[in-house]
Symmetry: C5
Subunit: 93 residues, 5 copies
Amino acid sequence: MIICKVVGNLWATKKDDKLNGYKLLVVRSHGEGETPETFVAVDTIGAGIGEDVLVTKGSVARNVLREKDSPVDAVVVGIIDSVEVDAQFLERG
Amino acid sequence: MIICKVVGNLWATKKDDKLNGYKLLVVRSHGEGETPETFVAVDTIGAGIGEDVLVTKGSVARNVLREKDSPVDAVVVGIIDSVEVDAQFLERG
Amino acid sequence: MIICKVVGNLWATKKDDKLNGYKLLVVRSHGEGETPETFVAVDTIGAGIGEDVLVTKGSVARNVLREKDSPVDAVVVGIIDSVEVDAQFLERG
Amino acid sequence: MIICKVVGNLWATKKDDKLNGYKLLVVRSHGEGETPETFVAVDTIGAGIGEDVLVTKGSVARNVLREKDSPVDAVVVGIIDSVEVDAQFLERG
Amino acid sequence: MIICKVVGNLWATKKDDKLNGYKLLVVRSHGEGETPETFVAVDTIGAGIGEDVLVTKGSVARNVLREKDSPVDAVVVGIIDSVEVDAQFLERG
């Protein structure tokens, strides 16, 4: 799973029927010293703009959806309360 | 899912039978400050050149196709009406 | 799917039995302004050196093979006749 | 699988039910001369901060979990005792 | 599949039971002009340090293993005898 920040919303009227009813969030990964990646995840948790979330990618993402055959490759699986990272390890890579 | 722009069309006469009848679009991802990635997605929605689309990648992509055993790893799942991103989050990464 | 050029052949006598009989091609992705990626794909179409091909990656790649449990993560699914990309979109990213 | 160091912990109270009971670790990949990648993996082995671990990613990761339909795309599958790499190969790429 | 060189061995005493009995090799990808990627693959072929091997990644990798539900996302599927790449294509990308 990757740590992302919810940075926006996305609307698509014309879309595959299997996406109907899902809330689409624009999220942005943020790892120490890494190039951020912006993508779109389905949210079933109720995350809001600016919140840090945990995002699952790939075929297992659909496991949180009611329809298992949804064409969804990224979902918000949790809202992060806190992350505790030991600074010495970040420095040493 | 990733946000892409439809930038072109692609034709392949000699191809696997399971790709017959699918429209192939050349799409290009565009994330703020990221290196764009150009690839080919099957379109079942009717997207046109220049439109911003939502693309699903990986094994779940085939879920929108009539043939579930198609060798397709990317599909256009929606045409984007609008994206609303809070600028402050983009700056702060 | 990604657009690649067939750049070479590869031979491996000692290999998993499930790869027997498959032709292995060295292919190289080429996207506008992107770092090319060189990898190996199974070819069931009959592509030759120097041809531009469409390559499917991941677990759905095996869908074009006769053995569905092959340890194959990339296959050539088509030989590209032509690609038509609108230059203005490439420039604007 | 990739070689990572456990660099921190992560807490998320509001999360998908299928993540309940799993310990979430922040891990950081470290390959010679590569950009490290920081992400979150489920730990079922009992790894601690600072330990080098082996991490499996993708849909097969859930194979170590009691619930096969968990929305988990990365797990710690082993604690590394030692890695022996021949330096000459690292230099020659 | 990707072309890698076997660069080392890795030992992990404390690991998931489903990894027991598998030999773990440290491999390093080497594509012309690309950043190498170092990771760990299961070897069922008998590859040795310094040999060039073909590695399959992702969920199909487990197809060469006796246990189909192993948490393994990369395996050595062949030992490369020779690779023949036409130099002109490498130069032209």
